[in-house]
C-alpha cells in the first residue's frame, strides 16, 4: 500500500476527465451520425475542418481529455492484468498518454491545416 495521495488524485482525474468529455462525446456521436450519411470523403472532412479554429479547439481539448482518461484506464488494467507496480506502471501509463496526445494532436493539426 503506497501513495494514497497520488492514487486518489489519479482517480479524481480519471473521473474528472470523464465528466469533462461528456459534451465532447455527445457532440462527436451526433456529428458522426450526420456525416457518415453522405459517405466519408476527404473533401467532406477537410472542407469542414480546414481552418476552423472552433473545430480545432473542440478536437484539441477532446484529444487532451481522452489521452489522460485512456492512459489512466490502461494504467488500472496493467496493474490488475499484468501486476505492474510503481515507476514501471506510471511510466507505461505516461508513455501511452503521451503517444495518444501526440498522434491525436497530429491528426487534429492534419485536418486543420491541409486543404481539400
Amino acid at each position: 500500500m503506497t501513495h494514497p495521495s497520488r492514487e486518489t488524485w489519479l482517480w479524481l482525474i480519471h473521473r474528472g476527465s470523464a465528466v469533462a468529455m461528456l459534451p465532447f462525446v455527445a457532440g462527436h456521436l451526433i456529428l458522426m451520425m450526420l456525416t457518415v450519411r453522405s459517405g466519408l470523403s476527404a473533401a467532406d472532412i477537410l472542407g469542414r475542418t480546414q481552418g476552423s479554429v472552433s473545430l480545432v479547439a473542440y478536437y484539441g481539448f477532446f484529444v487532451l481529455f481522452v489521452s489522460v482518461h485512456a492512459a489512466l484506464g490502461l494504467r488500472t488494467e496493467l496493474a490488475e492484468k499484468l501486476g505492474w507496480r510503481g515507476n514501471r506502471l506510471d511510466l507505461a501509463a505516461a508513455t501511452m498518454g503521451l503517444l495518444l496526445l501526440a498522434t491525436g494532436g497530429r491528426a487534429v493539426w492534419a485536418v486543420y491545416s491541409v486543404s481539400a
Binding site: 465528466v19 462525446v25 456521436l29 470523403s41 477537410l46 490502461l74 495518444l100 491528426a107 492534419a110 491541409v114
Partner: protein
C-alpha cells in the same frame, strides 16, 4: 438455476450478476476504444500527405466487415459513456439501488447509438 437464467437472459438477474457484467463491459469497451484511437488518429493524419492519401485510407474503411466493426465501436463508445455515468452516479451519489436500471439504460443507449449509426452508414 438454469443456464439462461444464470446468464441473465430470462428472469430477474441478480444485482451481483448485473454489476459484474457492467464492470466487464465497461473495461472491454474502454480497451477497445483505446486500441482503436491510434488507428483513428493515424487515418486522419494521412491528410498531411494530401487529400488523395486520406481518400485512399478512407477507402479501406468501406468494406462491410470494417463498417460492422465501426458500428460495434460506436456502440462501445455509447456504452462506455452511459456506463461511466452509471458508475459515477453510484460512486458520487450512492445510487446503488438503481444500478440495475441504470445498466439497462446504458445497454439501451448503446444499442440505439449503434443502430442509428448503422442506419445512417449502410
Amino acid at each position: 438455476m438454469g443456464r439462461l437464467q444464470r446468464f441473465g437472459l430470462i428472469g430477474a438477474p441478480s444485482a451481483q450478476l448485473v454489476a459484474q457484467r457492467a464492470a466487464r463491459l465497461q473495461r472491454h469497451s474502454g480497451l477497445a476504444l483505446a486500441v482503436f484511437l491510434p488507428l483513428h488518429f493515424w487515418l486522419l493524419a494521412q491528410s498531411l500527405k494530401g487529400s488523395g492519401a486520406l481518400d485512399y485510407a478512407l477507402a479501406w474503411t468501406r468494406p462491410a466487415p470494417v463498417r460492422l466493426a465501426e458500428v460495434v465501436l460506436v456502440s462501445a463508445l455509447a456504452f462506455h459513456v452511459a456506463g461511466g455515468i452509471r458508475l459515477m452516479l453510484i460512486e458520487f451519489f450512492a445510487c446503488h439501488e438503481f444500478q440495475k436500471n441504470l445498466f439497462v439504460i446504458s445497454c439501451g443507449f448503446a444499442t440505439a447509438a449503434g443502430l442509428l449509426f448503422a442506419l445512417n452508414d449502410f
